[in-house]
């Protein structure tokens, strides 16, 4: 204190604050009062990562081999050497362009976030040079004197030196949902507990305070937690793992076939250079160049769709993570509940009535005919200090803004819904005196004139803690009649009180007294300090209980989660009883489940004797959790399917998340506070609240829930599962034609026929005709109710499984190859080269100086004439693959159902895909057929139909496959054919 005193000047009450010069000095030393944003990877690194990820390495190798081949051929003076140079350049371009595309997609989703963190610069009222001035909060330095008032965000960690009725909301920091009062008194060693420190980024709810800045920027408590969060490593998303797995499979196939055929080629006495060129062809044919870009597009389409449903996805891959989620750790307040107190039950006339707690209530339907209700409603209306902010007449009652605390607000709205015009009633029953609620009295009291002009009595109304109110009563109102409060009645009260309390509701008691006219005349001077009026022997009117009710969409969403095999765990800072009540009402604890404690109570045995496995549900207190070993926690997570963690601190959330992850679960965590950010980061998918969430939480999360509604998570899960299924289809579609691209090279090497399809032509399929169709599969609707099956097992249900690869490669792919080869042989045969002539022809065919090779009919061909025919062969092969890919696209719409069950026309985008596919092929053949470098030629019309029988075969065969899968579930066929 002594060291501080110079700053206060001669009078401690009028602090002079720092001088501007001194402030500038400290600012230079400590830096601005702002959190350093989490370290982000430099853009160039991100960009380069895209250039070497996925198949890029393989393609770079291909490009490099091309250039090497070019170099050697140039040295040898081979005329066609430049083809290899161009191919190398094209491959490099493919890698760079897909890299740029992926980078752009990632940058776009990051930009969504940037808009979030951009906030209006916060201002702080600071005393410097002895005068008050507004400065940007970033300019604050340690030692500055700042003033705060209700509604302000605390601009730094502040030690209070003056406070008046100051209350702060620390929920984002400590998870306490109740407002905390702040004073100048040092009350605890722990800075988080003491009352004289207000923390950066929390808000001041009411009152005013002056304090001195003790920490700024990253030194603040929040800053330290934020840096803790960035220490928690980001895990790879499940879809990233799946894609990696898939890339490994494809690259493995490419490399092994490539190497195998390199060896075969060399041992068949091919020149090494030729063998290298074959190797390039095999790599290019095997790698689905466009696929990763397609996956990115599909994911971002889903992300867009999810954003429309209030799930804003920051990281594209998180789209699918949500779909594979097996455990959701959800907050209670605001996510499962409406985050506002609402009257849930009433007790009067010895009976409990329930009130409507839905979001959009306009009427209440319980029995309102009793006189007791009239009396109770009067007490509720009058003994209340909350008021609507003016000018909201047209706003629905539930949405109006109220000045007052949560319970009073609930009561005000409740009264307004039933009685209407509460403010008018209050005006007609003028308030004469009032004692506000305080923690010692635990009641609130007011005295009113009555609106009945004939009744000159004053009405005293009182509400408060039920037991305290009951103490002051001697009578109780039953059906509008005052009855003596005997033991029997008192017991009835107790039962009702216990029952409502057991529901986790906050219960208030109401009583009133008409003051006798003779003792309290018109002019009686009520004095609230001396309490010159009776406060005992009152008449008890009734009880009202309030709760923060669940959102009306939540129970349905929870049951959807349950049928989808997702465990919902509630993690809340609230009291166990309230937590359990809400858990029961939303179905997190189902109606017939019991906790260990429940069983103990029912069987009347000690808790220890209950077999823990009998209890499906568990309510764990944060205190218990603190003493648990990891094994004990694991045991709880395994043995109980319905779990509620109550009174947990946000730090414990991290422990719970880690526990879930030890069970191999994919965990989604919701959170809003700064302290949640480590858990959000640790979770497989962190979900921050868009409305209530702090910036730190939003930064740490993978997804932002724009409406804070749990039900939105479930729609997100649905989208995530759908995209997983659809990505399977996309990949199966894309992989199929790789075989049809690969076989030509293998046949070319082994049978030495003229090359059926060129490397450049392959690229036109992979990056041309196939792109839009494979994206179109992302629009496919679900085949069955995807929310009725269990979440996929992270390690067993792969995106690309054996069945998918085998079915695509060895079955449909082979059919496609055969169809395309039919077209190839047809083109050559009709031009004079019968199939038997082609075998073994390669060396002569490719000899630049052999210009009179004889065909099957005795005609002689120059090299260029043969090359042109070869290009016609390429085009026919290309067109055949395209035509068969149309059939492939149609069959990939479903994996189990018949196409006719799914509907051919429901997904219009598929048709856009088919049209685009054929249009691109037409343009390439007829429009660009004269461009030599592209190796396309205008094709005779009938060649478009040669592969048609095989296209039909693909469709028919796949329908048969699906029919057997549906007919014989679990059979050998099902196990081997369903992907």
């Amino acid at each position: 204190m002594e060291s501080l005193s110079p700053m206060f000047g001669p009078d401690l009450n009028f602090p002079r604050g720092l001088t501007s010069a001194r402030a500038a000095e400290i600012l230079a030393r400590d830096g601005p009062n702002a959190l350093t944003p989490p370290k982000s990877t430099p853009e160039i690194i991100k960009f380069l990562k895209q250039m070497v990820g996925g198949f890029s390495i393989l393609l770079w190798v291909g490009a490099l081999l091309c250039w090497i081949a070019f170099g050697i051929q140039v040295a040898q003076g081979v005329a066609s050497a430049f083809d290899n140079l161009y191919l190398g350049v094209v491959l490099a371009l493919v890698v760079i362009l897909t890299g740029i595309f992926a980078y752009y997609q990632e940058a776009k989703s990051t930009n969504i976030m940037a808009s979030f963190s951009k906030m209006i610069p916060q201002q702080a009222l600071v005393i410097r040079d002895g005068e008050k001035r507004e400065v940007s909060a970033e300019q604050l330095v340690v030692g500055d004197m700042v003033e705060i008032k209700g509604g302000d965000r605390i601009p730094a960690d502040i030690r209070l030196i003056f406070a008046q009725g100051c209350k702060v909301d620390n929920s984002s920091l400590t998870g306490e949902s109740e407002p905390q009062s702040r004073s100048c008194d040092f009350t605890h060693e722990n800075p988080l507990e003491t009352k004289n420190i207000a923390f950066y980024s929390t808000t001041c709810l009411e009152g005013t305070a002056t304090g001195m800045v003790i920490n700024t920027g990253d030194q603040t408590i929040i800053g330290r937690i934020a840096s803790l969060a960035s220490g928690v490593g980001n895990e790879k998303t499940p879809i990233a793992i799946e894609i990696e797995h898939f890339v490994h499979i494809v690259a493995g196939v490419a490399v092994s076939i490539g190497v195998l055929f390199f060896i075969i080629a060399v041992s068949m006495k091919y020149k090494v250079l030729d063998s290298i060129i074959f190797l390039i062809g095999i790599i290019v044919a095997n790698v689905p160049e466009g696929l990763l870009a397609t996956v990115t597009v599909s994911l971002s389409l889903t992300a867009k769709r999810m954003a429309k449903k209030n799930c804003l996805v920051k990281n594209l891959e998180a789209v699918e993570t949500l779909g594979s989620t097996s455990i959701i750790c959800s907050d209670k307040t605001g996510t499962l509940t409406q985050n506002r107190m609402t009257v849930a039950h009433l007790w009067f006339d010895d009976q409990i009535y329930s009130a409507d707690t839905s979001e959009e209530q306009t009427t209440q339907s319980f029995d309102q005919s009793s006189q007791s209700w009239a009396a109770l409603s009067k007490v509720v209306t009058l003994c209340n200090r909350a008021e609507f902010k003016p000018g909201q007449e047209n706003v629905p009652i539930m949405k109006r803004v109220v000045v007052g605390d949560a319970s009073e607000t609930a009561l005000l709205k409740f009264a307004e819904v039933i009685l209407g015009d509460v403010m008018g009633i209050r005006k007609r029953n003028r308030k004469l005196a009032e004692i506000p609620f305080n923690s010692t009295n635990k009641f609130q009291l007011s005295i009113h004139e009555t609106e009945d002009p004939n009744d000159k009595r004053f009405l005293m109304v009182m509400k408060g803690a039920p037991e305290r109110i009951l103490e002051r009563c001697s009578t109780i109102m039953i059906n509008g009649e005052e009855q003596p409060l005997d033991r029997e009645r008192a017991e009835a009260f107790q039962t009702a009180y216990m029952e409502l309390g057991g529901l986790g509701e906050r219960v208030l008691g109401f009583c009133h007294l008409y003051l006798p006219e003779d003792e309290f005349p018109d002019t009686y001077p009520f004095d609230t300090d001396s309490m010159n009026f009776p406060t005992s022997n009152l008449c008890f009117v009734g009880l009202l209980s309030m709760i923060d009710p669940p959102r009306s969409t939540v129970p349905d969403a929870v049951s959807k989660c349950r049928s989808a095999g997702i465990k919902v765990i509630m993690v809340t800072g609230d009291h166990p009883i309230t937590a359990k009540a809400i858990a029961k009402s939303v179905g997190i604890i189902s109606a017939n489940s019991e906790t260990v404690e429940d069983i103990a109570k029912r069987l009347n045995v000690p808790v220890e004797q209950v077999n823990k496995e009998d209890a499906r549900a568990a309510v764990i207190n944060g205190m218990e959790l603190k003493d648990m070993t990891t094994e004990q926690l694991d045991e709880i997570l395994i043995n109980h399917s319905e779990i509620v963690f109550a009174r947990t601190s946000p730090q414990q959330k991290l422990i719970i998340v880690e526990g879930c992850q030890r069970q191999d679960a994919v965990v989604a965590v919701t959170g809003d506070g700064v302290n949640d950010s480590p858990a959000l980061k640790k979770a497989d998918i962190g979900i921050a609240m868009g409305i209530a969430g702090s910036d730190a939480a939003k930064n740490a999360a993978d997804m932002i829930l724009l409406d804070d509604n749990f039900a939105s998570i479930v729609t997100g899960v649905e989208e995530g599962r759908l995209i997983f299924d659809n990505l399977k289809k996309t990949i199966a579609y894309t992989l199929t034609k790789n075989i049809a691209e690969l076989c030509p090279f293998l046949i070319y090497i082994i049978a030495s026929v003229p090359l059926p399809i060129g490397t450049i032509t392959i690229l036109f399929i992979d990056l041309g005709t196939d792109i839009i169709p494979s994206v179109a599969l992302a629009y496919e609707k679900a085949e069955s109710d995807i929310m009725n099956r269990r979440p996929r097992h992270k390690k067993k249900d792969r995106l690309v499984n054996e069945q998918l690869a085998v079915y695509s490669y060895l079955q449909i792919g082979i059919i496609q190859s055969i169809g395309a080869f039919l077209a190839y042989f047809t083109v050559y045969a009709e031009q004079g080269w019968l199939p038997n002539t082609l075998l073994g022809l390669r060396v002569n065919w490719e000899d630049d100086y052999y210009n009179d090779i004889e065909d099957s009919y005795g005609q002689e061909w120059t090299r260029y004439q043969r090359t042109y025919l070869q290009w016609t062969g390429y085009t026919a092969f290309f067109v055949s693959i395209t035509i068969q890919q149309v059939a492939d696209l149609i069959i990939r719409k479903t994996r189990r159902n018949s196409i006719f069950q799914q509907g051919l026309l429901r997904n219009k985008v598929i048709w856009v895909g088919i049209v685009s596919q054929i249009a691109i092929a037409l343009i390439l053949s007829y429009g660009l057929g004269s461009v030599t470098a592209l190796n396309f030629t205008p094709l005779r019309v009938q060649y478009w139909f040669v592969a048609m029988p095989y296209a039909i075969l693909i469709w028919v065969y796949d329908e048969i496959r699906k029919l057997f899968i549906r007919q014989y579930p679990g059979s050998w066929w099902d196990k081997n054919m369903y992907y």
């Binding site: 030890r662 019968l834 052999y850 002689e860 090299r863």
Partner: protein, 281 residues
């Protein structure tokens, strides 16, 4: 997700061994013998069916073709030119006129090539009217061929000089036009050869003027026109003696016929050919 711990190498190996052969379940490469049997049987049937289908569709396709002439001839509208003998590498002749070994290959190729033009082989062939296309009746199953006697090639016929002039330093090169079914040249087609540099070589054509007679056209295809002999033009190059040891580039073109192209940008052999020749003594 717990951090993936590195498995010890021995464990990885054990897992692999387990995968290759699992004695407990009797699984070999992840499948039991029965399972392998089933899957192999399936693929046997599946590929058997596909093979049959492919054979069938190929057969159907081949049935639509005629054995006599190809369905389309639009990829060869105009013939290419080619020479005989054809050097092994590129179109470059290197020989020493005093070393018979250096041109033995060329001579034997020419002899082989001209065998089918021997008089003994031409007995079936008829003498046709020169200067006129020899079109034959459609319903004739076997088309007749016109005679082309080696004697037409003069000193390049190999009758008088069995080294085709190579020994004398006046090598012969045969220029021929590619066969194309149904091709009917117009005008008066003849071969014209020019050395790149004037005055290096003297060129003599057999038959005179490098003429290609129209009576050898049209060609009816290998099957119908089995005895067909394509007309040849022999080019004898007399390299000016002081110019030996220098490489001479010679370009031959088909001239005098409006429907035989010889100026295509991309096809360097369409109606033309260029070759190099270098002779030493």
């Amino acid at each position: 997700m717990s951090k993936e711990e590195k498995k010890p190498f021995s464990q990885t190996m054990a897992e692999w061994r387990q995968f290759v052969y699992n004695p407990r379940s009797g699984e070999f490469l992840g499948r039991t013998a029965k399972s392998w049997g089933l899957i192999l049987l399936f693929y046997l049937v599946f590929y058997g069916f596909l093979a049959a289908l492919f054979t069938f569709t190929m057969w159907v396709m081949l049935q639509t073709l005629s054995g006599d002439i190809p369905k389309y001839r639009d990829r060869i509208r105009s013939p290419g030119l080619m020479i005989s003998p054809k050097p092994v590498t590129a179109l470059e002749f290197y020989f020493n006129k005093s070393d018979s070994q250096s041109y033995a290959e060329y001579v034997s190729t020419l002899k082989q090539f001209l065998k089918s033009y021997d008089d003994s082989k031409q007995s079936k062939n008829i003498a046709c009217t020169a200067g006129k296309l020899f079109e034959q009746n459609e319903d004739r199953a076997i088309k007749q061929a016109c005679q082309f006697n080696r004697t037409k090639l003069g000193s390049c016929s190999g009758v008088e000089d069995d080294t085709f002039g190579y020994a004398k330093g006046t090598p012969c090169v045969l220029v021929k036009m590619n066969r194309i079914i149904g091709l009917k040249p117009e005008g008066e087609p003849h071969i014209e050869c020019l050395p790149k540099e004037e005055g290096k070589v003297q060129i003599t054509y057999f038959p005179d003027g490098g003429m290609i007679d129209l009576m050898y056209f049209p060609y009816y295809g290998k099957k119908l026109h089995a005895d067909y002999l394509q007309p040849l033009v022999a080019v004898q190059l007399a390299i000016i003696s002081n110019r030996t040891k220098e490489e001479v580039t010679i370009e031959c073109k088909i001239m005098g016929s409006p429907n035989l192209k010889n100026e295509d940008d991309r096809d360097k052999f369409l109606g033309r050919i260029s070759f190099k020749i270098q002779m030493s003594e």
